[in-house]
Symmetry: C2
Subunit: 399 residues, 2 copies
């Protein structure tokens, strides 16, 4: 099966490309190098050194004999997107090509604008490319569990049956996203659901939890195949960042009182979930939502795990509560329905001590590549940001 991965050079996109290539799929990646451009602009590096996309693909070919096709392009440029899709004629399109950082989207107007432009308008282009060029192609779209926010009821998989004043309907689950980035995923979900309804498009919307892990079995085959690993305030996700902090003796930065609970998923499960989605093709016109999450923890739970494992490794790991730069509930109900991917055959890699220890060891190994100034949160959700973040003074100009 021909699978094109939009954003196939990123933290998740590249492991996904390698994983599917290994499993026998005919894989192409389409990428605009936006994430690497941010690094260049701000002099930031991945914890793990990463190769250029062409080098990765060449090394992959040397090691496995398999070919991954490369397209350079931007989904907001329709002509480039249409050309690649016409040429490769994908049967599934896996869409990672979005600006994926909540803090990035909250830096200022320009970053919010860029995020909503790239994600919402880019995805609109992807939808039209499918409709006009490969109408049977299955769109596998990365969403986020953050679309739901933290309602005081169980979070269902995309839809909820509502009984109201004696009548009943199954309706899209109400969304309460927490950043201009998360909002784009909600907008995408609405647009895509509509595309399925009017054009008969096939789509799977994967509401993914926070991904952790330094790579997959494929990216571990060779140092040249490594995927990026971010620990900075803008792109680093909570567990990854905590492991780095533990390694360098930097107190874990717990935002606020730490009761914020979120879904998590191992990167090894992410690549498998997407394969499961690809293999189970929706009917024409079908819009499916899977909650791509295997477990959930509060920030305090995560900090305690990292402290404990770090302690076992002989490290002195402190956790500090700092003023929360985000506007979010720190004490709330959280329970997620996530049976659809399990029903398709997912066998989760749950978060255990070995996983955490592995990440801390990786950070120790690459200690000299860590820039502590990138960790403190300087991007604030509030309009009165300066009052709130005085305690966490800006160390970098984030964009």
């Amino acid at each position: 099966m021909r699978v094109m991965i939009l954003g196939g050079d990123g933290y998740l996109g590249w492991p996904q490309a390698a994983y599917l290539s290994q499993r026998g799929y005919d894989v192409a990646v389409f990428d605009n190098q936006a994430r690497r451009h941010f690094d260049l602009k701000h002099s930031i590096d991945s914890l793990l050194p990463i190769r250029h996309l062409h080098q990765r693909v060449e090394r992959w070919h040397q090691l496995t004999g398999k070919t991954i096709t490369v397209y350079h392009g931007d989904i907001t440029h329709y002509d480039a997107l249409a050309k690649a899709i016409t040429e490769f004629a994908p049967e599934a399109l896996v869409h990672f090509a979005e600006q994926r950082s909540a803090p990035f989207s909250m830096i200022d107007r320009e970053h919010a604008f860029y995020t909503q432009y790239n994600n919402v308008l880019g995805t609109l282009n992807v939808m039209y490319a499918i409709k006009d060029i490969v109408p049977d192609c299955h769109l596998v779209k990365l969403g986020t569990m953050g679309e739901y926010g933290t309602p005081n009821i169980d979070i269902e998989e995309g839809f909820i049956e509502i009984t109201h004043k004696g009548r009943k309907d199954v309706l899209p689950f109400p969304k309460q996203p927490g950043s201009f980035y998360h909002l784009t995923k909600v907008h995408d979900s609405h647009n895509i659901q509509f595309g399925c309804r009017i054009w008969g498009m096939r789509a799977t919307d994967l509401n993914q939890g926070i991904v952790y892990g330094a790579g997959t079995y494929e990216t571990a085959l060779d140092a040249d195949l490594a995927t990026r690993f971010d620990y900075d305030q803008v792109y680093g996700t909570a567990l990854n960042r905590f492991c780095i902090q533990a390694a360098i003796g930097y107190p874990l930065t717990v935002y606020g009182s730490g009761g914020q609970t979120r879904g998590y998923i191992n990167i090894k499960d992410t690549v498998r979930c997407i394969e499961l989605a690809i293999e189970s093709v929706p009917a024409a016109g079908e819009y499916r939502v899977f909650n791509q999450v295997t477990e959930w923890y509060s920030i305090n739970d995560i900090a305690e795990k990292v402290q404990r494992v770090g302690g076992q490794m002989g490290l002195d790991v402190q956790a500090h509560q700092i003023p929360n730069p985000r506007v979010e509930s720190e004490n709330h109900y959280y329970n997620v329905v996530h049976t659809k991917l399990l029903d398709l055959g997912l066998e989760p890699h749950l978060l255990n001590d070995e996983e955490i220890e592995g990440m801390i060891r990786l950070a120790l190994q690459h200690r000299d590549r860590i820039d502590e100034r990138l960790i403190k949160p300087t991007v604030n959700w509030r309009s009165t940001a300066n009052q709130v973040t005085q305690a966490a003074v800006a160390q970098i100009e984030p964009a």
Copy 2:
């Protein structure tokens, strides 16, 4: 009170400006002339001749002694928007500056892209301009009843209490919009609700029904103050278009079986509703939703009314069902809660025979300005559009 009307030269924006000016508000309009540009491009005219914005404003001043300030600009150009808002320092911003036609948004990729760019990104700019320049300014945003779609339960005003698996929460009402245009209003609603939550912005989101009527008491004061009146397939709303069709002996174009039920509101009520919203300022951080609708009818109800009134006027009015160019349910439940504006004091102008007769008379009076070729629907929601609309062959190139 200083009120700026974004899109203040449009069908609703101009009557709103005149109405508020007449009632003693200090009014500015900000407009990019996008709707008039569409006329120029396609050689289309409003049924009623309309004056240029500056001529309207000058005539208004001659007749009433009141001044309306004019800014030419586009909300997607932040600098122009910020300059106008800095200079005028509005206390309320009424936001009509969106591409407002569902068929326009469905013409092709370019029109969908333009619509979502203009509306979603433009509104994001408006939100940042408020936050950064006039943080206490009240955003009065025009949404649409079409955001809700046609759920099988009563439509509440923005939020619904949901009991689910023994737990309870009040959540945003689930949305099922029916075009790329309607989708932008849903996206805006999510963005604005978030802005209120994180920045303490004050906003009223007005989910308006389909507006009918050829003007208000103010625009009727003088021919030079007339607002535009559209009857074409792209911009003409159902009741307005039917009245024109009745006048010229063109069968009423009922899309599909005609059971589609929608909320309606008289243009005279629109201008009053917005005044009521402005006068009742939300608290800092408050996001309110009002359903700006006074009654609802199916397309068949509307066609029957126009047939009956036309008959009383001696006209032979036929109604023809044509293949529905839209993808929508033609047989559904519809019941709308709309008490908040009534509670604030709205006294509705309900749809009566005099109103319909007035519009038909207007069309008879301007018979020579009507271009029949503009009426047939050529814009189709489906990807297989040509099969569906063979019966309603394209007479114009719609964009």
